[in-house]
């Protein structure tokens, strides 16, 4: 009898004690949960891709509610989600530009040489552990598709069996491939930018040439060609400054190896609306390509063959008589 009583008492007593301690602790150490976090969680896409830098959508929602993350941090949701999150948090959302992943290499099997034949695990991470991978160029794309495997949106593929290519329409800019690529070859670039240096090799020009037909050899012709100071040279390698580039694509035309890629199909051309032009010559003065002809006081005209679509004249024209159109081919 006494034994039963004792065990009852001690077990019950301890349960009670621990319960009391926990109850006290939960009061004492209470952390307020933000109701906004739950509301935000509701409007997120729920892809749990982690592209925002937080562990899943829950983590991101909490971070936004506590002000640690920006309301437009969800790349998958894009601006529609950002607007809804913004309205929960009571802030105005500026439309953020879409970014698209680019694989900064064009060294496929036709353009680049291999230094050995790789027969191991079909994965870039594994291959890159073997002397940096089979590519002659130690910076190049290995084409074994580690990025393809991680892309949740089926937006990246190995073309020609040797190099990764991004599908611009499907890419959400989540950046998973950027993290996965062992060669750090993938970069998120603003959608509006149509010119990219598709090479990250820091090797000297001669070596680049031996390894790859389309690598940047550091000749600096693009630097000289660019009228807008939009090209930087770091470590013998050209880089586009996306904030300054106006998509005139002159550098891509000048590049002797084709390492600079431009979406020529989207190249613009200026057009002067004659009925609006007052002949002030402002456009003619600002054009860096001598692509505008016309005398003062007379209607001006754009020479489409010379115009690069840089858009400087559009900005300068005092009566808005110039517009940029996509070129017809």
């Amino acid at each position: 009898m006494e034994k039963i009583l004792l065990s009852l008492l001690s077990l019950g007593g301890m349960g009670f004690l621990f319960g009391a301690v926990l109850a006290f602790a939960s009061k004492r150490f209470a952390v307020e949960k933000d109701p906004r976090a739950e509301a935000i969680r509701e409007v997120l896409p729920g892809a749990n891709c982690g592209a925002c830098g937080y562990p899943g959508c829950d983590g991101f929602a909490e971070a936004v509610a506590s002000g640690r993350a920006p309301v437009d941090g969800c790349t998958v949701g894009g601006s529609p989600v950002a607007v809804r999150v913004g309205s929960i948090m009571g802030v105005e959302v500026k439309q953020k530009e879409r970014v698209i992943a680019h694989v900064l290499c064009q060294g496929d099997c036709h353009n680049a040489v291999n230094k050995y034949q790789y027969k191991g695990i079909q994965d870039c991470v594994a291959a890159s552990m073997l002397a940096g991978g089979p590519k002659g160029c130690s910076y190049g794309c290995l084409g074994l598709g580690t990025c393809v495997k991680v892309c949740p949106f089926d937006a990246i593929h190995i073309s020609d069996g040797s190099i990764a290519v991004v599908d611009r329409d499907k890419c959400t800019g989540c950046g998973k491939c950027v993290e996965a690529c062992p060669k750090n070859l993938i970069e998120l670039i603003p959608e509006s930018n149509l010119v990219q240096v598709l090479c990250i090799s820091k090797d000297p020009g001669k070596q680049v040439r031996e390894n790859c037909k389309v690598g940047c050899i550091g000749c600096r012709l693009c630097l000289k060609a660019c009228q807008f100071e939009a090209i930087d040279f770091v470590d013998n390698l050209a880089r586009i400054r996306y904030d300054k580039c106006v998509n005139c694509m002159v550098c891509a035309e000048k590049c002797p190896t084709g390492a600079i890629y431009a979406h020529f199909a989207k190249r613009k051309v200026a057009f002067i609306h004659e009925n609006k032009c007052i002949g002030c010559t402002a456009c003619k003065k600002v054009c860096k390509f001598e692509a505008i002809e016309g005398e003062p006081e007379q209607k001006h005209r754009v020479l489409p063959d010379r115009c690069t679509g840089c858009g400087q004249c559009v900005e300068r024209c005092p009566v808005n008589a110039i517009s940029l159109n996509v070129r017809e081919h």
Binding site: L11, M14, F18, A25, F29, V31, V125, A126
Partner: protein
Amino acid sequence: MEYVGRIFVILISSILINNFVMSRFLGICPFLGVSKRVETAIGMGAAVTFVMAMTSLITYIVQYAILEPLGLKYLQTIIFILVIASLVQFVEMVVQKASPTLYQALGVYLPLITTNCAVLGVAIINIDEKYDLIQALFNGVGAALGFTLAIVLFAGIRERLELSDIPKPLKGFPIALITAGLMSVAFLGFQGLIK
């Protein structure tokens, strides 16, 4: 000196020879569940280490201050479970308040430990082996380090397995179980380390 030597033996034995996962087969569920990435494995290991050390201390006190004097040794298991469950809860609350960063880092692993049989195991072994308080503490920490070692190694292997070309029927869990078995055999090789 003798005492320090004994503690050293306890540590080595709980880390390598009587490794909780590899030769005592305790704590298998987190071992298999949380070992896909080395990073998370380390997080889990850290959380377990902390809880095991605390548990070793408190269960020791409960055993010799309450259970033994009252002759209630048969209540050991249930009371230890009670202790561990409340302890984990308590620790979780305190950590959440005191250090949100640590709380973030430990994440879901903290509550998971409540159901980790390795923690209960270490508490009971401490009593069975008749360790004193300090030895119990070292045994707890050693066991946790052994657990961490095993789970981190295993996670490293699994990260590599992900990349390998594995026959379809074996892909995923089967190959993980086989690997765990082989690792265990390897760990059993430590058996002769201390006579």
